[in-house]
C-alpha cells in the first residue's frame, strides 16, 4: 500500500485503487481469452471414451490375429512407440505389398473430420472395419474369420462379454479399437499451455515461429485443435505441382468423387506430431520437416521463404506434441488361447 501511496498520491481511496487494479487484471484476462479465441490454433482436449473398452481396443490394436496371415497388427504401421507411425515413406502391408500412401499417425486421429488421406472414410469404426479386410492392408478374408479368431481367445471372450454384454462381434471389435484411438489424444503440449496463458511454456524462437506460421498463411489450412485434419486442400493450390518431378500420379479425392475440383485434393494432415512423423505428404516424398515446409510454402502459398523463418517454424512445431497417454504402454497381461491359430477356419498357418 505504501508503494501505491507513493506512486499514486492522489485523492482516490485505497479501496478504489484496489478495485481499479482488480478490474485491470480482469480486463487483461478477458483480453487474453479473446486473443486466445481469435488464434487459429486451439488447445487439444480429451475425447470422451470408455477407458475399459479403450484398454481392450489397445490389445486388439497390437494383435496380429487381426491380419489374414497373423503377421500384421494395426500397430505394425501405426507404431505406438513411434508416435503412431513407422517413419516409412510408404508402409508394407500384410502380404508384403507397398501401400499406396504414407501412413499417418493414429494419435489425435479421433478429432479428424474424416479418415484417410482422401477422406473416404467418415469415422474410426469404419476405418478399422475397412483396414482389417483390405487385401493390401491386413488381408483378413472376412470379418467372420476375424471374429472367430478373436473369440478363440479366452481373455477377449470374457472382456467383450463383460464390457459389451454380448459375445465378440465385428461391431464391438471395431468399436473397441476406435475407442482406443479416441483415447490417444496428446494433451497439455507446451504450445497449448502457451495458448492458455503460460507465456514461458515455449521459447521466444518458437513464438517467432508461430508468428511466421500465421504470417505465411500456413494457419489457413493448419488450424484448429489438431493444427489441420479438418479440411481438404489441393496439392499445388497456388502453383501446380510438377507431377513428373514428384513422380506422383495420385489424384486424391478425385478418385472418390469424380469431380474435377477434387483432383489432387487431399486431407490437410494434422501438424500436432509433425516433428516425430517424418517423412511427409501423402506420398512420403518430403523427408524432412524443413523440406516439407519449403515445398508447402512454395506450392500452397506461392511465397518465398528464407531458411531462418523455416527454422523458427520448425521450432514452433516442436512445441505442438502433447503428453503421451498412459494407454500406449505395451500390454502386460499375457493372452491365453483356447484354440491354436491354425485350427481356425480360413487362417493360414
Amino acid at each position: 500500500m505504501k508503494i501505491i501511496n507513493q506512486l499514486m498520491p492522489c485523492t482516490l481511496g485505497k479501496s478504489r485503487l484496489i478495485l481499479i487494479w482488480v478490474c485491470a487484471i480482469a480486463v487483461s484476462a478477458l483480453a487474453h481469452t479473446a486473443y486466445a479465441q481469435q488464434e487459429p490454433i486451439k488447445p487439444l482436449t480429451i475425447i470422451e471414451h470408455d477407458a475399459d473398452k479403450a484398454e481392450l481396443g489397445r490389445r486388439l490394436f497390437s494383435d496380429v490375429r487381426l491380419s489374414g496371415n497373423n503377421s500384421t497388427s494395426c500397430a505394425t504401421c501405426h507404431r505406438l512407440d513411434q508416435y503412431g507411425v513407422d517413419n516409412q515413406a510408404k508402409s508394407i502391408g500384410a502380404t508384403g505389398n507397398v501401400l499406396a500412401r504414407n501412413t499417418p499417425t493414429v494419435f489425435n486421429s479421433g478429432g479428424y473430420f474424416t479418415q484417410m488421406w482422401d477422406g473416404r472414410i467418415p469415422d474410426l469404426e469404419t476405418r478399422v472395419q475397412k483396414a482389417v479386410v483390405s487385401p493390401t492392408l491386413m488381408g483378413m478374408p472376412s470379418w467372420d474369420v476375424a471374429v472367430e479368431k478373436i473369440a478363440a481367445v479366452d481373455l477377449y471372450r470374457d472382456r467383450f462379454q463383460a464390457l459389451y454384454g454380448e459375445p465378440v462381434s465385428a461391431n464391438n471389435i471395431q468399436h473397441a479399437i476406435a475407442e482406443f484411438q479416441r483415447s490417444l489424444v496428446l494433451v497439455n503440449s507446451p504450445f497449448d499451455r502457451f495458448l492458455q496463458g503460460d507465456e514461458n511454456a515455449i521459447s521466444e524462437k518458437a513464438k517467432k515461429g508461430y508468428r511466421w506460421f500465421k504470417e505465411y498463411g500456413c494457419s489457413s489450412c493448419h488450424q484448429g485443435a489438431n493444427v489441420g485434419g479438418n479440411l481438404f486442400q489441393k496439392m499445388g493450390a497456388l502453383k501446380p505441382i510438377d507431377l513428373k518431378k514428384w513422380n506422383n500420379t495420385d489424384v486424391g479425392r478425385y478418385k472418390i468423387t469424380g469431380k474435377e475440383w477434387d483432383k489432387y485434393v487431399f486431407k490437410v494432415p494434422s501438424l500436432r506430431l509433425a516433428v516425430h512423423t517424418a517423412p511427409y505428404f501423402h506420398d512420403g516424398s518430403a523427408k524432412t520437416l524443413e523440406d516439407a515446409i519449403k515445398k508447402m510454402i512454395n506450392y500452397q502459398l506461392d511465397r518465398p521463404v528464407p531458411q531462418k523463418h523455416i527454422d523458427t517454424i520448425v521450432e514452433f512445431l516442436k512445441t505442438l506434441p502433447g503428453e503421451l497417454p498412459a494407454a500406449v504402454a505395451p500390454p502386460t497381461t499375457a493372452l491365453t488361447t483356447s484354440t491354436t491359430l491354425t485350427s481356425v477356419k480360413g487362417v493360414k498357418p
Binding site: 489457413s220 479440411l231 497456388l238 511465397r303
Partner: protein, 387 residues
C-alpha cells in the same frame, strides 16, 4: 347364479379396462415416438441453421479455424443418419410423401456437406491471397517508385486499392477493376526491381478474384439449398400423418367402447334369462320330487296289498293241500278214518281262519286298490317323462 353374473360383468369390465389401458399405453409410446421424431427434426433444423451461420462466420473471417464447421458437418451427418434410423424411417415406409421428403433432405444435406468441404478449401486459399496480395502490392509500388515508373505505380496502385476496397466491402465493381488490370500486370515485369515478385503478385491477385468467385459461388449454392423448408415440410407432413393416425386410433377406441357396451348388455340379458330358466328348472325339480314321493307311497301301498293277498293264497294252498290229503286217504281201500278226521279238522280250522280274516271277501278290493296305485305310478312316470 348371482356369482356367475357378477363374474361375467367383471370379465367384461376387466376387458374394457384392459383395452383402455392398452390404448393409453399405445398412446403414450406413440407420444414418445412423436417426441423423439420432433426432437430429431428440431435438432436437424437447428444444426442446419447453425451450420449456415458458421459458414458465413468463416467466410468473413470471424472464425479463424474450421473446427466449428467440421463439428457442424459431423453433427449434420449424425443427425441425418439418426433420422434414418429412428421411427421416421418407419413412417416413411408407410407414407410416400414423408419418404419423398426424406430422400430430398438426404440429397440436400449431402450436397451441402460436399459444398461446405469445397468452400473450406477455397476459402483457405482466398484468405491467404487476400492477406498477402496487398502487402506484396505495396512493396512492388515502392519498387516502381524507385524505378520512377509512374505508369506502373498508377496501375499497381489502382489494382491494390481496388483490392483493399474489395476486401473491405466486397463490391463487385472493385472485383471488375482487379480483373481488368490483373492480366496486364505481367507487362510491368521490368518496371519493378523484383520481376518474380510481380509475377507472384499477379498470381495472388488472380487467385483472389478467382477464389472470391468460387467461394461466393459455393456460399450462394449452400444458402440456396432450402433444407430448412424441406425439414419444415417434413415436420408438418409427419405431424399431419401423426394426427391422422391418432384420429383413427380414437375412432377405433370409440368402436371398441360401443362394442363393449353391447357385449355388456347382451351379457346382462343372458344372465337374466339364465336366472329365469334356473328358477323354472328348480320348480320342475320340486314338482318331480313331490310326484316321485307320491308314486313311492302308492307303490308301497300296492306292495302291502299284494303281500296280504300272497299270505291269503298261501293259506288257501295249505287248506287245499289238506283237502287233497283227505281225498287221497278216502280213496285208499283200508281207510284210516282217524287220520281223515284229523285232516278234516285241520282243513276246517284253516278255512275258518280264512273266513275269520275275511281276506277272501276283501281280495277284490285289495287287487282293485293295487291296480289303482300302479295306475297312478304309471301316470306319474308318464308325467315326469313329459315334463
Amino acid at each position: 347364479m348371482k356369482v356367475m353374473i357378477a363374474l361375467i360383468a367383471l370379465i367384461v369390465t376387466g376387458g374394457i379396462g384392459a383395452g383402455y389401458i392398452a390404448y393409453q399405453h399405445q398412446q403414450q409410446s406413440s407420444d414418445e415416438i412423436r417426441n423423439e421424431i420432433l426432437s430429431a427434426v428440431n435438432n436437424l433444423k437447428q444444426q442446419d441453421s447453425t451450420t449456415n451461420t458458421v459458414i458465413l462466420e468463416s467466410r468473413y473471417g470471424l472464425r479463424t479455424d474450421y473446427d466449428a464447421l467440421a463439428e457442424r458437418v459431423r453433427d449434420l451427418r449424425q443427425s441425418t443418419s439418426a433420422f434414418n434410423r429412428n421411427q421416421l424411417a418407419e413412417y416413411a415406409g408407410k407414407n410416400a410423401d414423408i419418404q419423398q421428403l426424406l430422400i430430398a433432405l438426404q440429397g440436400q444435406l449431402t450436397l451441402k456437406i460436399e459444398l461446405i468441404e469445397s468452400f473450406k478449401s477455397h476459402n483457405a486459399i482466398l484468405r491467404n491471397s487476400i492477406k498477402y496480395a496487398p502487402e506484396l502490392g505495396e512493396k512492388l509500388i515502392r519498387q516502381a517508385r524507385v524505378k520512377n515508373n509512374a505508369q506502373a505505380v498508377s496501375q499497381l496502385s489502382l489494382v491494390n486499392e481496388a483490392l483493399y476496397r474489395w476486401a473491405l466491402h466486397g463490391d463487385n465493381k472493385e472485383a471488375s477493376v482487379i480483373q481488368e488490370n490483373a492480366s496486364s500486370l505481367v507487362d510491368l515485369y521490368n518496371a519493378v526491381i523484383n520481376g518474380v515478385a510481380l509475377i507472384r503478385y499477379a498470381n495472388h491477385v488472380g487467385t483472389v478474384v478467382e477464389e472470391q468467385e468460387i467461394t461466393q459461388g459455393f456460399i450462394d449454392k449452400i444458402l440456396a439449398i432450402d433444407s430448412q423448408s424441406t425439414i419444415a415440410k417434413l415436420e408438418s407432413e409427419y405431424l399431419e400423418h401423426y394426427v391422422s393416425v391418432i384420429k383413427a386410433s380414437e375412432k377405433n377406441l370409440y368402436f371398441v367402447f360401443l362394442y363393449a357396451i353391447l357385449v355388456l348388455i347382451i351379457a346382462v340379458y343372458l344372465g337374466i334369462k339364465l336366472k329365469k330358466s334356473y328358477a323354472e328348472l328348480k320348480n320342475r325339480d320340486d314338482y318331480r320330487s313331490q310326484q316321485i314321493s307320491v308314486a313311492h307311497r302308492h307303490l308301497n301301498s300296492a306292495d302291502a296289498n299284494v303281500s296280504i293277498l300272497k299270505e291269503t293264497v298261501d293259506h288257501m294252498k295249505e287248506t287245499l293241500r289238506y283237502l287233497g290229503g283227505i281225498s287221497t286217504e278216502a280213496q285208499k281201500p283200508q281207510k284210516d278214518n282217524q287220520k281223515i278226521r284229523t285232516l278234516l279238522a285241520t282243513a276246517l280250522k284253516r278255512y275258518r281262519l280264512l273266513e275269520n280274516n275275511r281276506v277272501l271277501d276283501q281280495a277284490d278290493d285289495v287287487i282293485e286298490k293295487s291296480n289303482q296305485n300302479l295306475e297312478r305310478v304309471s301316470d306319474l312316470v308318464k308325467d315326469l317323462a313329459v315334463n
